[in-house]
């Protein structure tokens, strides 16, 4: 934002306290991510909105189509239902429907996923749903370092980018470099390298998969762990290369099973790496139900290291 006057931030309570008598920088986003920004950039570029997602997400599309680079915050991705049209039918399709003559460099940030006992309407992943729409780019970082580099890429990108922040990862504090760096879209990260099984995991599943894999090392099982970082574009080449080498694949995501990313990657491998496959492709995901509230239920719902371990072993059986 310091370097590009076209960038601005908009959303409900991104600074907070608009129209109030108290302190100006009272809030700074539902997870405090934007704290301090309004002091630096003022209310002209850090714009609080009413609760009116269709209007401000749509406005981001309109501002982007007319030359700005808006970043908008939807707080919880679960709220996408009230502004869905503006994302999948408008922003996503401008460029194509208008014959390539427009660009729409908007970034929409969402917190996503479970782990907070926030129940059915505040715990969804949803990036698997958004991955299905051509015209959108979809980013799902699994750690703070990547998040920064991917966010800077997102802001510079000329297409609409949906940026999903697994909300349990806000709790982590990690050192990130102060300087500006970008991580390109469509480039997977090899979090672990190994020979026996390829594990592909998304978002908050990446550290869980890493834990499972690290424990399995003691049993002499070594795995590739691939974090695609962006689901659209997807680094198909990295995944296929690994599967061709290991012959075995486990895909892990926290979303429910139907028409999700685990099936997406499994389908990819079952076609393009078929001849290398040595065992069934296993998918680890949530069951086919909404996210439950109770911590015990949620713990049983979200995939954990045990389930990942079991799946890895099942491919070797």
């Amino acid at each position: 934002m310091r370097t590009d006057p076209d960038v601005f931030l908009m959303g409900e309570d991104v600074s907070g306290g608009a129209g109030c008598d108290g302190e100006d920088d009272a809030f700074g986003g539902a997870f405090g991510q934007y704290k301090g920004l309004v002091k630096e950039f003022g209310r002209e570029r850090i714009i609080d909105t009413p609760i009116t997602e269709s209007a401000f997400i749509g406005a981001a599309g309109g501002a982007a189509a007319t030359g700005m680079r808006p970043i908008v915050d939807l707080m919880f991705v679960d709220f996408i239902g009230v502004c869905f049209d503006q994302i999948f039918n408008q922003m996503a399709k401008f460029r194509y429907m208008f014959g390539g003559k427009s660009r729409c460099p908007a970034v929409i940030r969402f917190s996503a996923g479970g782990g907070f006992s926030a129940a059915g309407q505040h715990s969804q992943a949803m990036y698997q749903v958004m991955t299905s729409f051509p015209g959108l780019k979809v980013v799902v970082p699994s750690n703070a370092y990547d998040a920064k580099g991917l966010l800077l890429s997102a802001i510079q990108d000329d297409d609409p980018v949906l940026f999903f922040e697994p909300k349990v990862l806000y709790q982590e504090t990690a050192e990130v470099p102060d300087e500006m760096y970008t991580i390109p879209f469509g480039q997977a990260n090899f979090v672990r390298e190994g020979d026996d099984v390829t594990v592909v995991a998304f978002g908050q599943m990446v550290p869980k998969a890493a834990a499972a894999i690290d424990a399995l090392a003691a049993e002499g099982i070594s795995c590739d762990l691939i974090d695609p970082r962006t689901t659209s574009p997807l680094d198909e080449a990295a995944i296929l290369e690994s599967v061709r080498a290991t012959g075995r694949l486990v895909v892990v995501d926290e979303a429910p099973p139907r028409c999700g990313l685990t099936a997406d990657i499994a389908g990819l491998a079952a076609d393009k790496a078929f001849s290398s496959l040595k065992g069934p492709i296993k998918q680890v995901c949530a069951p086919h139900s909404p996210t439950p509230f109770s911590p015990e239920l949620e713990a049983a719902y979200i995939p954990n290291a045990d389930k990942i371990t079991a799946a890895i072993k099942a491919t070797l059986a």
Partner: protein
């Protein structure tokens, strides 16, 4: 409109129950006993109770993310609610919903709702059912001052007028949506007028005063029940706690909260009325206080002792006939 002694006792008891329920929930959250996101209704009790005083079990309400007060006012089982908030499988929603989704369909409670302004369209559907069945029921939706800027809310209001259904829109102005003031978020400066422009009457009340709400809501509900189409209630009242538990509320002006607690406390206001009219004695009210405290204490004891859900329950109740796939 004179209110029977029994109704007065019930109203006070219900307001006090909401207050103590919320304060105790607050304390238990601070203790780390209640998980998830919780929004408290403290300070707004008169509104829920004043409205629900006109409803019976087969009328419906639909609530918001700040739903405990509405549910208690409409007759939800307090112990079942406390168990739900603790995540027990004995909770009102078997531990699946939590604070943002407490519901009891049998009591006409279509649920708290985690989506701002998710409720009004659903409520219009309940009102439509009442109209088709010609059963004289009404459907009440509660909306915050922030939620009324949501498209779903406007749509529901217009459609209720078009279909002439007995839907009552109760707008609770506690001045804030999260940390943003109504004066900012509602562009026009007259929310009542903007609402009335949709084509139905809106009755205004001091939302800290049970009697004022009772009167305004009585008019709105009578209007709808008589088949005259939708009506609205617009009431102002303070929210004592932050938007969510833990919110430092730095956005508030100096002395604002103190003034609310001092001069706009529904329980105090009610007691003042009683002191003037003499309808209920201090002793009667004190006795209720004691009973309510005991009930809430017991509900927490029970909630802590209640059964915890087991993993198999995760996939239960997704569908009616069809088991889960995974």
């Amino acid at each position: 409109m004179s209110i029977s002694k029994e109704s007065l006792l019930h109203a006070y008891r219900t307001m006090k129950t909401i207050r103590e329920f919320e304060e105790r929930v607050h304390a238990e959250i601070m203790n780390g006993q209640i998980p998830g996101f919780t929004h408290l209704y403290t300070g707004q009790e008169a509104n829920a109770v004043g409205v629900c005083a006109h409803l019976d079990e087969s009328d419906t309400i639909i609530s918001t993310h700040r739903g405990h007060g509405h549910c208690i006012a409409k007759g939800a089982d307090v112990s079942g609610m406390m168990k739900e908030l603790f995540g027990s499988s004995e909770g009102l929603c078997k531990g699946k919903g939590g604070s943002m989704h407490v519901a009891d369909i049998d009591k006409g409670i279509l649920g708290a709702n985690g989506i701002v302004a998710g409720g009004p369209p659903i409520s219009v559907g309940s009102a439509l059912a009442a109209k088709i069945r010609k059963n004289g029921k009404v459907a009440v939706s509660f909306s915050g001052d922030g939620s009324v800027n949501q498209g779903t809310c406007f749509e529901a209001m217009n459609m209720a007028v078009v279909l002439q259904v007995p839907a009552v829109f109760v707008i609770e102005n506690n001045y804030y949506s999260e940390h943003t003031h109504i004066d900012y978020a509602v562009g026009c400066n007259d929310l009542k007028a903007r609402t009335e422009a949709f084509g139905f009457p809106v009755f205004v009340a001091d939302g800290a005063d049970f009697f004022a709400v009772h009167e305004a809501a009585g008019k709105a509900i009578a209007h709808a029940r008589a088949g005259n189409g939708p009506a609205g209630v617009f009431a102002e009242q303070g929210r004592y706690h932050g938007h969510f538990v833990g919110d430092p509320q730095a956005y508030r002006g100096e002395g604002e909260l103190e003034n609310l607690r001092e001069n706009h406390d529904p329980l105090k206001v009610f007691r003042q009325h009683m002191a003037t009219s003499g309808e209920l004695s201090e002793g009667e009210l004190d006795a209720i206080d004691a009973e309510v405290m005991a009930e809430i204490e017991q509900s927490v004891v029970d909630a802590k002792a209640a059964a915890r859900p087991t993993p198999e329950q995760v996939t239960a109740d997704v569908y009616i006939q069809y088991g889960a796939t995974a």
